[in-house]
């Protein structure tokens, strides 16, 4: 469970860092860049693709530096910056006359896509093939080889953009559901649907990879 219990220490560290950056402390800004630039690029890529990501992130940093005094500490620094980023992505898409292929900011609905391939279930709703536990060896293999993260990273690329964005924010980066809703302009329910679909697809992809591996 993330969020609740450790909110106070994180908020205080955030406040301190923000104060130093606002004061003109270059090292503090370096720290912020180190922490956020990579994740910002990854998040931007998830919503506008490779081409727009660099521009959107550059615009975001410019806006952050211009608007630094306006940060009120009502959200975390990161959430505030990511909201700016999401808005910049929206602007970029409008300028490039593209529709963001994502149902953010209340635009577009999620559709009825099932999270799990319906063919996996009998008419009575039972798994047609039993789910085999990923054997005790396999998770070990994954973690010992440090492959778990790499596997998910690869499969994330195959998710639809909206699901990828939510999974990145929630599961990869550990943001709370409130933060994700604030960043992407999603209702709690829609955020959960996207998260569910994304995780379900990742599980199916990992299952497929593991099955192939165990067969060899």
């Amino acid at each position: 469970m993330n969020g609740g219990e450790d909110r106070a220490p994180i908020a205080r560290a955030d406040e301190a860092l923000y104060a130093r950056v606002e004061d003109g402390d270059a090292e503090a800004f370096d720290e912020l860049v180190d922490r956020l630039h990579g994740p910002m690029l990854r998040f931007a890529r998830s919503i506008v693709g490779e081409q727009g990501a660099r521009e959107v992130v550059q615009d975001t940093w410019a806006a952050v530096l211009d608007g630094l005094e306006r940060f009120e500490g009502r959200s975390s620094l990161k959430t505030w910056i990511y909201r700016i980023l999401a808005n910049r992505a929206k602007t970029w898409a409008a300028r490039e006359r593209r529709t963001l292929p994502v149902p953010f900011f209340g635009e577009g609905d999620l559709g009825d896509e099932p999270a799990v391939d319906p063919a996996r279930f009998s008419r009575r709703g039972k798994w047609t093939t039993p789910i085999a536990p990923w054997t005790a060896r396999t998770p070990e293999e994954l973690y010992l080889d440090r492959e778990a993260g790499a596997l998910v990273a690869r499969e994330l690329e195959n998710l639809p953009a909206a699901q990828r964005a939510v999974v990145i924010l929630r599961d990869v980066e550990g943001s709370s559901s409130e933060e994700v809703c604030a960043i992407l302009g999603l209702s709690e329910a829609n955020q959960r649907v996207l998260l569910h679909r994304g995780r379900s697809k990742l599980r199916a992809a990992l299952e497929h990879r593991l099955a192939r591996r165990q067969a060899t």
């Binding site: 370096d30 630039h37 530096l65 999974v167 990992l206």
Partner: protein, 79 residues
Amino acid sequence: MIVTCKDLSEAVTDHREGRLGAADRAGWAIHLAWCSSCRAYVAQMGLVIDAAREVPCAPPADDDRAALRARFAERAKRS
């Protein structure tokens, strides 16, 4: 009410987020008590989330760092 494997597979995230009502929570527990496939499924969804935490992120490219430092210095000069 959660009865079938399909029902449960749809409820996994709701359950984890604490969004199931009492009846659904009961159905969830009952179903998992007898269905080893769904127990495996739930465990695997957890493993996916664990694995997601391990997704690496590239550090900022040197060019980007330099450009951002310069921008920051500009701002300091202006104020």
